[in-house]
């Protein structure tokens, strides 16, 4: 299919488009590493009694002055806040249940992240709730490890345990941030080629039905 050969007086109707598409593809792929656009993501994690959130557009740009809404598992709005220039917003755990954190980044961008109740309990040092569910109904208990759940563990004094938790939180913080960054991988080459493949398939399908209609028309 020599659509680009200059010797032919009539080129395929698509050669120009082919070239244009080629250019787009190339620029698209070149840009791929640096910047993707048009999706806002929010990521949240628990440390101690606070929940930290980080919001960004898929280009990696932080969501500045985005609105964060926190809902409980019944859909009741618990609190609201705005992200700072780093896309960060943190708040005290308002209620121990599955928390839905909704990011409203403006201009039609919205996303959400759910912090499971188990994660909040764990971070706050509360024993896990009933396995049967009913997480919401479990009463608040005083923080502190429950020794009877871990009979084999070497018992540490609460002081040391608290210190340990603090240090671990501090050490893990960058790791969690890294994880937040990884949540937001742009579309991969597979995604792009897959999408184009689908379009080519649809074109083939359309051409096939057109051809059948034409040949049928000629037969009758």
């Amino acid at each position: 299919m020599a659509i680009f050969s200059k010797s032919k007086p009539y080129r395929g109707p698509v050669s120009g488009c082919c070239l244009a598409l080629g250019i787009f593809l190339l620029t698209g792929l070149l840009n791929a590493a640096t910047a993707w656009a048009h999706k806002a993501t929010v990521f949240a994690w628990v440390e101690g009694h606070r929940i930290y959130t980080e919001s960004r557009f898929s280009g990696g740009r932080k969501v500045n002055q985005g609105k964060i809404q926190v809902y409980d598992d019944l859909g009741k709005l618990l609190l609201e806040g705005t992200t700072d220039a780093q896309g960060a917003f943190d708040f005290e755990v308002p209620k121990i249940c599955d928390l839905k954190i909704v990011l409203i980044a403006g201009m039609g961008h919205q996303n959400q992240w759910i912090v499971p109740a188990g994660e909040i309990r764990e971070a706050a040092g509360l024993p896990p709730a009933d396995k049967s569910g009913g997480i919401d109904s479990a009463p608040k208990q005083s923080p502190g490890p429950s020794e009877k759940d871990q009979p084999a563990a070497v018992s540490l004094s609460p002081e040391i345990e608290k210190q340990l938790e603090k240090i671990l939180d501090r050490k893990l913080h960058p790791l969690v941030r890294q994880l937040a960054k990884m949540q937001d991988r742009g579309p991969s080459l597979q995604d792009i080629l897959g999408g184009i493949g689908y379009i080519l398939g649809l074109v083939g399908l359309g051409a096939y039905f057109n051809y059948r209609r034409q040949t049928k028309g000629e037969e009758t």
Partner: protein, 210 residues
Amino acid sequence: MHISEGILSAPVLAAGAAAAAAGTLAGMKKLDSEHIARAGILASAFFVASLIHVPIGPSSVHLIMNGIIGLILGWAAFPVILVALLLQAVFFQFGGLTTLGVNTCVMAYPAVIAGALTRPFVLQTGFRAKAASFACGVLAIFLSAVLAGAALMATEKGFLNVTFMILAAHLPVMIIEGIITLFGVEFLKKVQPELIGSFKDQASANKGER
């Protein structure tokens, strides 16, 4: 310009879906065997264009390319943009499946309108044609911003406010798309002048060839 899931109310979503379906039906009728290949290629171009990120301006925006699609395809821009948006939603998580109809309207109606308004001038020669091509790219984005503002006005702070914000964010994209449309059209006029003509012109030209 992709509106995410969970923002719009059900009536807006339903209206968008209905309007998109009407446009797509109108567009499908135009897609005969002559045009299906170019429609597919433009769909691919639209699909990929959203990955080209414009790092200027207050928000993160990307190319849309609906102006040139409308110029080349007319109503057939609808199925093209619908398919490309569906694949963007599935593969890239841009926009969403429930907002597919609204997003299609936001990008495809401006394509059809900008294409129809500028085509007579684009077909001329000289400065006027160049200005018209540029205007086509700019106008399509402008109208898209206005439509997106209209779709969002119920959920955000009023029509003018949202529209102004979207317009401000897309100002660089408008200019870039104008330039791309200008050069794209100039290029196509040199290599494939019949691409830009209306469908009727093309049909008669094709008949003449046979």
